[in-house]
């Protein structure tokens, strides 16, 4: 076992209480795949009755005489010189490679990478076409090029906003603090002004940005997304408009529902955490709920989501009961994560992140892809993994040509 038991225990703990990140989940998966015993162990150790039983036993053991008396019993049976001594000692470290938390996650990614390189080497023996690495080109993920359109129509890059109060929008201050958090804050002493709107645009190829709206709700915006919102919320609802993908942590206000609009679709919530994926080039809009409850309306169709569920809105509205939450919010955690995702969908996500165009030379591959990689990877690192699925590429500037894979074997 390469990871320390303590680290694996922490992963299982976070897995159980739902605070596990995508990277940690990947590390746990990797550990599970090490051996079937690990899988059996996980299902046994997470039995809730057993857990409750052992936790209380542990509590009793640590807090009462039980701990001392056990050692006392042993040392007196062995006629030790100092029967009461439990020495504060530690076993010398004997594991050779302890990987620390991120080291382990990194190792996991490296493992996937090396595996894919290995596969590529194998497949390249019989296939010399479309090796984009040999052409010496690559595309790195972008820095931030997100910008705000203020109420007066002026445009300002998020990264060039002045620190402190960067702008006044009516009676609302637009603040950039020293940690680069961008927040709308209302000056309560002033009378309400007209409703003003701002638009935050995060272009394709730009890294994820987040802002805090005037009501305290926090929004993360993925690349290729646009969010329009009032600089102060008044009236009996909080309405914003989204194109693209955003993750919301909505501040609770029972009397003032928060509504995300997207064409004919409306997502209504009181206070909750959820993800909306609504790109124009995607066939379906996906609303994924992590906490609280939301209602999704599209025309006459309505769906109410419980945590862990996802609404998929295409022609109709479908509710998936056991949605892949991790996959839905992996972008916010800095990962690409795919679970039997079609190559087509994978490439569409890559197109937004790296700001590239996808061109299919022949038929679109029908394969699916499962796996993950950090979003700080370069395009070629992602493509290297995809080549495992015998999909091959050629990069021409910012155009990624998908070669007619299986046929050119």
């Amino acid at each position: 076992m390469a990871a320390s038991p303590k680290y694996i225990a922490e992963l299982i703990y976070r897995h159980l209480n739902g605070t596990i990140t995508a990277a940690e989940a990947a590390a746990l998966q990797l550990w599970l795949k090490e051996s079937p015993e690990n899988e059996r162990f996980l299902s046994a150790v997470t039995d809730e009755d057993d857990l409750a039983d052992l936790v209380l036993f542990d509590e009793q053991y640590e807090q009462t005489e039980m701990k001392r008396s056990l050692y006392k019993t042993i040392s007196s049976r062995l006629s030790f010189s100092d029967p009461s001594a439990i020495k504060p000692v530690q076993l010398p470290v004997h594991r050779v490679h302890f990987l620390r938390r991120w080291g382990w996650a990194a190792a996991c990614v490296l493992f996937i990478l090396s595996l894919s390189v290995y596969f590529r080497i194998i497949s390249d023996r019989s296939d010399t076409s479309g090796d984009l690495l040999s052409q010496g080109q690559d595309i790195q993920p972008g820095s931030s090029s997100a910008f705000l359109r203020l109420a007066d129509g002026s445009r300002v890059l998020l990264d060039s906003l002045q620190y402190g109060v960067a702008a006044m929008q009516g009676n609302t201050q637009l603040i950039r603090d020293s940690n680069d958090h961008i927040t709308y804050r209302q000056d309560n002493k002033q009378a309400l002004s007209d409703i003003l709107y701002n638009t935050l645009t995060n272009p394709r190829g730009s890294r994820v940005v987040s802002i805090v709206l005037q009501d305290g709700s926090r929004v993360w915006l993925n690349a290729g997304s646009v969010l329009t919102y009032p600089t102060a919320f008044t009236g009996n609802s909080r309405q914003v408009t989204l194109t693209g993908e955003a993750y919301f942590e909505v501040a609770h206000r029972a009397s003032m529902p928060f509504i995300v609009n997207r064409n004919a679709l409306a997502v209504t919530v009181l206070g909750t955490h959820f993800n909306v994926m609504a790109y124009e080039d995607d066939n379906a809009i996906k609303v994924t709920l992590l906490e609280g409850s939301v209602r999704v309306d599209k025309g006459i169709l309505t769906g109410v989501l419980q945590p862990g569920q996802q609404a998929v809105v295409a022609g109709d509205l479908r509710v998936i009961k056991d949605a892949d939450i991790e996959q839905a919010i992996a972008w916010k955690e800095g990962f690409f994560q795919f679970n039997k995702t079609s190559i087509d969908d994978v490439l569409r996500e890559a197109a937004r992140w790296y700001d590239i165009d996808i061109i299919y030379e022949g038929q679109r591959p029908t394969d699916t892809f499962t796996g993950g990689i950090t979003r700080s990877s370069s395009l070629s690192e992602l493509l290297t993994i995809l080549q495992m699925n015998r999909v091959h590429f050629r990069l021409e500037g910012r155009k990624l040509v998908v070669l007619n894979g299986p046929q050119n074997k």
Binding site: M1, P5, K6, I8, A9, E10, I12, Y13, L16, N17, G18, T19, E37, N38, F41, A44, V45, T46, E48, D49, D50, L51, A52, L54, V55, L56, F57, D58, E59, Q60, Y61, E62, Q63, M66, L70, Y71, T73, I74, S75, R77, L78, F80, S81, D82, A85, I86, K87, V89, Q90, L91, P92, H94, E291
Partner: protein, 205 residues
């Protein structure tokens, strides 16, 4: 004070040479894993007895174990066999009997690292409990674990019965707040609620 800086090999050598400090270090590293392993199958009392026997046996046969893996195997095999023997006396928990029989038949040696994960995980969950104020935690544990009635708890902790009920209600509320987003503690909470209901009924009676 024992010298903690020596290597695994030196530790085992000292242990084999009969140094009690070396034994204490090994005890410290393994006893809880063995105890928890046994406790899943048998009662508190049997589990502590078995753990004591394992370490007594280990010391008496210390010449036979030239490495930590050998020590670990001896401890877990002994614990496994001792638990298994209790099946005949109907002292093994029904729920895990099958697992234990399977361990014996396949001659599986419980994995020390996996048992370590169990111990660490339990510790993490117990930390939630420890965030409760001390007296509340005591009330909670006495009532839930030992099934004591409020009057008995009041006597043990030298507080009045009303306080016990109040403390427990507050403890439950605090725990619920702390664990609000933790599905894991769902069972604990459920048990707590049952307990609360019982307390209320008891108070009414």
């Amino acid at each position: 004070m024992p010298d903690n800086k020596y290597s695994e090999q030196e530790l085992v050598q000292r242990f084999q040479a009969g140094e009690e400090d070396a034994f204490a270090i090994i005890y410290d590293a393994y006893h809880k894993k063995v105890l928890f392993f046994a406790r899943r199958f048998v009662s508190d009392l049997n589990a502590t007895d078995i753990t004591a026997d394992c370490f007594v046996g280990l010391w008496q046969r210390r010449g036979n174990f030239p490495s930590l893996p050998a020590i670990s195997s001896y401890l877990f095999i002994t614990a496994r066999n001792r638990c298994y023997n209790l099946i005949a006396h109907e002292q093994v928990k029904e729920k895990h009997k099958g697992e234990l029989i399977n361990l014996m038949e396949t001659e599986t040696i419980p994995d020390s690292d996996l048992e370590d994960i169990r111990v660490q995980l339990i510790g993490l969950i117990r930390a939630e409990l420890n965030r409760l104020p001390k007296k509340m935690r005591a009330v909670f544990i006495l009532s839930f674990q030992e099934g004591l009635k409020p009057a008995e708890i009041a006597e043990q902790l030298n507080i009045n019965v009303k306080t016990v009920s109040n403390q427990k209600a507050t403890a439950i509320r605090l725990l619920r707040q702390a664990l609000a987003d933790h599905p894991l503690e769902f069972v604990l909470l459920l048990l707590l609620q049952l307990e609360l209901t019982r307390t209320v009924v008891h108070d009414l009676c």
